[in-house]
């Protein structure tokens, strides 16, 4: 059944989009991520313009992270103080991201920047995750227990001033890296249409030593608020959020996430990370392929004005 998307301005098969929502939702539930970095490319591959895809996916991520955030809230696995500090800078980052998005679009380089950023970000993060996953897998083969990556020693981050105590996470860190991370995630999220969970979680663990008990819940709150803000800002400035597309994706996404979470709970954490790494890396390579291989048509058209 075809349905016409009013903003993307093209008809799509409603079941195809629903299936995409279900699949990405399944994956996001399984790995505890928003899934934006998979959804945005997938929408681009089915013919939706990168600009509309990025803008619409933000609302899809808002829906799926809200579901997650509620369940983490009930389990008291959210460090609200930390989330608020991240958000203070995150909102600024989002606004800067939406601004850059508008500028890049005006000078015809948005698609290129989206493509390049995906390649760099995804292949890098993917490779790191694969490396770590393989090592964990090898350790498990040798019968050694998985080491907890949380050494007690302090790194340079802990030497910075302006320290604050976060009770729920049981950490005492400087606000400078907290704001830095918040800004970067908000910024990347708005430009690339990704929630940034797959970047935020490792950053919180490695730089701030946030314990595993609160890291995913806190990351979800952060993603939820930045993506909700990005939806509103993209709609207000670029008028590119396709609510019909977003609605279908959300419905598929939240259903898929339930089944994904169920499957994820039955798998070992190290193996999950390896699989996620492979997935992230593959998406990155797909973008690299598009940038390097000569396009079918060197010319392309973009609407400037509706008159």
């Amino acid at each position: 059944m075809q349905i016409y998307l009013p903003i993307a301005d093209l008809p799509v098969n409603i079941f195809l989009v629903l299936a995409m929502g279900l699949t990405i939702g399944f994956i996001s539930g399984m790995f505890g991520i928003g899934g934006g970095f998979l959804m945005t490319p997938l929408l681009i591959f089915i013919g939706i313009s990168p600009a509309v895809a990025v803008a619409s996916v933000t609302s899809h991520i808002a829906a799926s992270t809200f579901t997650g955030a509620i369940s983490y809230w009930r389990r008291r696995a959210i460090d609200l103080a930390l989330a608020l500090m991240l958000l203070a800078a995150g909102i600024l980052g989002t606004a800067a991201g939406v601004w850059l998005f508008t500028v890049l679009r005006a000078i015809d380089q948005l698609d290129l920047v989206i493509g390049l950023s995906y390649v760099t970000l995804l292949t890098l993060v993917g490779a790191l995750m694969i490396n770590e996953g393989v090592q964990a897998e090898l350790r498990a083969r040798r019968g050694q227990p998985a080491t907890l990556r949380r050494p007690g020693s302090h790194n340079w981050v802990h030497g910075l001033p302006l320290k604050m105590r976060f009770k729920r996470s049981k950490i005492y860190v400087s606000l400078i890296p907290v704001w830095g991370i918040g800004f970067v995630i908000g910024f990347i999220g708005a430009v690339l249409g990704i929630g940034g969970g797959f970047l935020l979680v490792p950053m919180l663990i490695y730089f701030l030593r946030v314990p595993t008990a609160t890291v995913i819940g806190t990351s979800m709150v952060m993603t939820l608020v930045t993506m909700t803000a990005a939806t509103v800002m993209h709609a207000a400035t670029n008028h590119l959020v396709d609510a019909v597309l977003a609605l279908i994706l959300m419905v598929g996404g939240v259903i898929g996430a339930q089944f994904g979470a169920h499957t994820g709970q039955r798998m070992r954490a190290e193996r999950l990370r390896l699989l996620l790494g492979l997935l992230v890396f593959a998406v990155g390579m797909r973008f690299a392929y598009d940038l390097v291989v000569m396009p079918d048509d060197l010319y392309s058209i973009r609407l400037v004005r509706d008159r």
């Binding site: 909700t228 959300m250 390097v292 060197l298």
Partner: protein
């Protein structure tokens, strides 16, 4: 309208007929549908235009051997065509041209190829076919159309053809009798909304002898229209509503699937 028109034509025919033999035709056309509604399940449609060639007055003779060229133009838009080049191994947009106020949809339908209907000069003067239509470009500070084999122009037309927005259909007009014809106007699924002008030109012996026009309207209807207008005119409210919808669905999922 018919009566005064006929009287006027008769007068002209009488004046002209005094010296030359009266040979004047007029076109009477009618569209099957003046309004196309783009709904959620719209997959494109076809509008049919029926027309007949009539003598201006009962006594005038028809010369026969008619050709019809119908040009359907959608609302104008400004589009930018960009060209990619390889820079440091990757493909980057390096150059662009803006096409100012060009038709968003352009269908040229005729009963046989344009070059067989009229010579190049006539075709150019009357903007017959995609090769001769004027497409204004911004070149630096100038606004002008370029030669027909300009690469930007050619690629612009090709891309628009691929997107099914521009088309040359040399068998789009069918003569049912020597004077009655039918034109099928294809409108693709992604047809732009707005007012379309339908310009019908009648040719005989390589010269245009009559011309008429009509219009049709493509509108997004119902829900799609509402959503589209809201997104363009009330961006902030639209964004807030979309964000609220996202949160509602997210919350609804936790209610439906109580896992905790």
């Amino acid at each position: 309208m018919r009566q005064p028109g006929a009287t006027l034509a008769l007068t002209i025919a009488m004046i002209a007929g005094a010296t030359a033999s009266a040979r004047a035709e007029r076109l009477v056309v009618s569209l099957s549908n003046h309004r196309v509604a783009v709904t959620s399940n719209f997959v494109g449609t076809e509008i049919v235009l029926f027309g007949t060639v009539e003598p201006d007055s009962p006594r005038t003779a028809l010369r026969g051997g008619y050709d019809i060229v119908t040009t359907v133009s959608g609302p104008t838009v400004t589009l930018r065509t960009r060209r990619k080049e390889r820079v440091l191994g990757i493909w980057v947009n390096v150059d662009s041209r803006e096409f100012i106020r060009v038709p968003s949809y352009l269908g040229v339908l005729s009963n046989r190829p344009i070059q067989q209907i009229a010579d190049v000069t006539t075709a150019r003067n009357l903007q017959l076919g995609l090769n001769h239509i004027i497409l204004t470009q911004r070149i630096g500070t100038d606004f002008a159309d370029t030669v027909t084999d300009d690469p930007f122009r050619l690629n612009f037309i090709n891309l628009q053809k691929e997107a099914e927005q521009y088309r040359d259909v040399s068998n789009g007009v069918t003569f049912l009798t020597p004077t009655v014809f039918r034109v099928s106007i294809p409108l693709p699924a992604n047809v732009p909304t707005g007012t379309y002008t339908v310009d019908v030109k009648l040719f005989s012996g390589g010269q245009m002898i009559a011309r008429t026009n009509t219009a049709l309207e493509v509108i997004k209807s119902g829900f799609e229209q509402y959503v589209f207008e809201a997104s363009q005119n009330h961006g902030l409210i639209y964004g807030l509503v979309t964000a609220t919808m996202a949160l509602m669905i997210g919350w609804f999922a936790t209610v439906v699937f109580k896992r905790d």
